[in-house]
C-alpha cells in the first residue's frame, strides 16, 4: 500500500512539474523571442503598477491562460465533432505519461526507507519512451483530419510523415547510448554516468556519444515540430497547420503539447548525454574531489543537489531549443525529408556500427 502511494505521488509530482515547466516555457518563449528581436515583449497586465522593467509574468502565466480558457470553443461546420474534441487530448496524454520513466534524482532516504526518484522502473525503459512519443502522432494527424480544413489536413499529413521519418534517427541515436551503457533503464544509465574517466572527466554520455547527441538533438526538435522543423504548423504557409481550426482550451492543449515535447527532449538529452541528476564528483555521501579532499554532506542535501542539477540541466536545454527556434529559418519540406533520410539516418547507422565495433574490440 505504502509503495503504491509512493509511486502514485511520484507520478503526480512529475506530471505537475512538467505542466508547470510548460507554463514557464511560454514565458521564456515570449520574453526570449522579444529579447532576440529587440522588442519589449509581453508587458501588459502589470499588477504592481508600472515597474521600470516589466517581466510580463502576470501576462503570460495568468492573463494568457484566462484569455484562452474563456474564448469560444469553436467547432467548424462539417468537422468531425468527436475527433475534433479528442485530438488535443490524444496528442497530450501520451507525452505527459512519458515522464514517469525519467529519473530526476538518485534515492531519497526518509525514515530508513529508500525511495528511488523515478516514478516507474520498467525493464523496457527507453522503448517505453519511444512507444509513447510515437503514439502522440495521432493528435496531429486527427487534429488535421477532423477540422475539415485543407490547410489543417496538409499540416496533419506533413506532421505524420515528418514524425515517422525522424523517429528512426531518434531511435538509432538512442541505440548508440544503450550500447555504450549496456542498459535500457534510464536510472541505470544515469548511475553509470557517475563514473570518472581518468579520475577527472565525468563519464557523461556526450563523451562517449557526441554524434548521437547531435542526431538526437536534431531529430528531437523535429519530433517536437519546432523551428527549423515546424513544417506541420508553418504559419506563413498553412495558417497554423493542424490546429488552424482550434480555439480556446483545445488550442491551449496543443500549444502545451509542443512545450511538453520540448521538455521531453530536454529531459532525455539531460538523462542520456549530460549525466541526468549527476553532479560532478558528488557521490552519495558528499563530494570527492579528484585533487584529493572530500566534503561530507547529509544525504538529504545530496538528494536536493541532484534534483536541482537535473532541473537546471533540463531548463538549460529547454532554453536552448527556444533560442534555436528564434534564430534559425524554416526548412523547405523536401530539405526536411532529405535531411532526415539522407543525412541523419546514415549518420546514425554509422554511429551505431562504429560504437558496436569499438565495444567489440575493447571487450
Amino acid at each position: 500500500m505504502i509503495d503504491f502511494l509512493i509511486t502514485f505521488s511520484l507520478t503526480v509530482l512529475m506530471i505537475l512539474m512538467v505542466l508547470n515547466l510548460g507554463g514557464l516555457l511560454l514565458w521564456v518563449e515570449r520574453k526570449g523571442s522579444a529579447v532576440l528581436q529587440d522588442r519589449i515583449g509581453a508587458n501588459r497586465a502589470a499588477v504592481l503598477g508600472k515597474l521600470p522593467f516589466n517581466l510580463g509574468i502576470v501576462n503570460t502565466l495568468v492573463a494568457d491562460p484566462i484569455k484562452l480558457f474563456t474564448k469560444e470553443d469553436f467547432v467548424p461546420p462539417g468537422a468531425d465533432k468527436l475527433l475534433h474534441t479528442l485530438a488535443p487530448a490524444i496528442g497530450l496524454v501520451p507525452l505527459l505519461i512519458t515522464f514517469i520513466v525519467i529519473p530526476f534524482g538518485d534515492v531519497l532516504i526518509i525514515g530508513g526507507r529508500e525511495i528511488t526518484l523515478q516514478a516507474a522502473n520498467l525493464n523496457i525503459g527507453i522503448l517505453y519512451v519511444l512507444a509513447m512519443v510515437s503514439l502522440s502522432v495521432y493528435g496531429v494527424v486527427l487534429g488535421g483530419w477532423a477540422s475539415n480544413n485543407r490547410w489543417a489536413l496538409l499540416g496533419g499529413i506533413r506532421g505524420s510523415a515528418q514524425m515517422i521519418s525522424y523517429e528512426i534517427p531518434l531511435g538509432l541515436a538512442l541505440i548508440g547510448v544503450v550500447l555504450a551503457f549496456g542498459s535500457l533503464d534510464l536510472q541505470e544509465i544515469t548511475r553509470a554516468q557517475g563514473a570518472l574517466i581518468g579520475g577527472w572527466i565525468p563519464a557523461w554520455g556526450i563523451v562517449y556519444q557526441p554524434v548521437a547527441f547531435l542526431i538526437f538533438l536534431a531529430a528531437g526538435i523535429a519530433e517536437s515540430k519546432r523551428i527549423p522543423f515546424d513544417l506541420p504548423e508553418a504559419e506563413s504557409e498553412l495558417i497554423s497547420g493542424y490546429f488552424t481550426e482550434y480555439s480556446g482550451a483545445k488550442q491551449a492543449m496543443f500549444m502545451l503539447g509542443d512545450f511538453v515535447e520540448a521538455i521531453i527532449v530536454a529531459g532525455l538529452i539531460t538523462t542520456l548525454f549530460f549525466g541526468g541528476w549527476q553532479v560532478p564528483f558528488l557521490l552519495r555521501d558528499g563530494f570527492h574531489f579528484p585533487w584529493g579532499g572530500t566534503l561530507a554532506l547529509p544525504s538529504l542535501l545530496v538528494t536536493l543537489l541532484q534534483v536541482g542539477s537535473f532541473t537546471l540541466k533540463v531548463l538549460f536545454f529547454c532554453w536552448l531549443q527556444i533560442m534555436i527556434r528564434w534564430t534559425l529559418p524554416r526548412f523547405r519540406y523536401d530539405q526536411l525529408i532529405s535531411l532526415g533520410w539522407k543525412i541523419l539516418l546514415p549518420l546514425a547507422l554509422a554511429n551505431v556500427m562504429l560504437t558496436a565495433l569499438i565495444i567489440l574490440l575493447f571487450e
Binding site: 475527433l83 523496457i124 517505453y128 519511444l130 512507444a131 510515437s134 496533419g156 505524420s160 515517422i164
Partner: protein, 162 residues
Amino acid sequence: MDFVTFFALAIPLVVVAVMVIAHPSPVYSALFLVMTLFLLAVYFLFLNAHMVAALQIIVYAGAIMVLFLFVIMLLNLQSDTLRTQRHGLGRVAIIGGVILLAELGLLLQGSSSELAESSLPENFGTVEALGSQLFTKYLLPFEITGILLLVAVVGAVVLAKR
C-alpha cells in the same frame, strides 16, 4: 493473468475489433484498429511479453497505422455504404462457422492452465532474453527479415515514383 483482467481486456478487444470492420468511415476503422492493437499490447504485458508489447506499440500503432491513416487522408476516402453483395457465400459461411464453433468447444474441453509465474525462466520476455535468442539461435531468419525489409523499401519507393 486472472479472470478479472482477462475479461476486462477481452471484452473491449472483441468490441473494438468488431467496430474495425463494422464502421462505415475508414478513418474510424483505422482508429478502432489502433485501439485493438493498443489493448493487445496491454494484454501482452500481462502475458510476460514486455519486449513484444513495446514493439507492438512502436511498430504497429506508431508506424504501420499512421501509414494507413496517411493513405486514407491522402486519398480523402469518404464513408462507404455497408452494402454487401456476395452471393454463394452463405453455405460456406455456415460450414466454416460450425467448424470454428466445434474447435472453440474442443479448446474449452482440454483446458490446462499456464505455468506459474515463479516457474518461468528468469528474465522471460525481457529485451535481453529476446535479443540474445534473436542473435544466436535465430540469426539467419533475422538477416533474411532484414533483406525482406530492404526489398520492401525499394519496392515501395519504385512504386511511388511511377
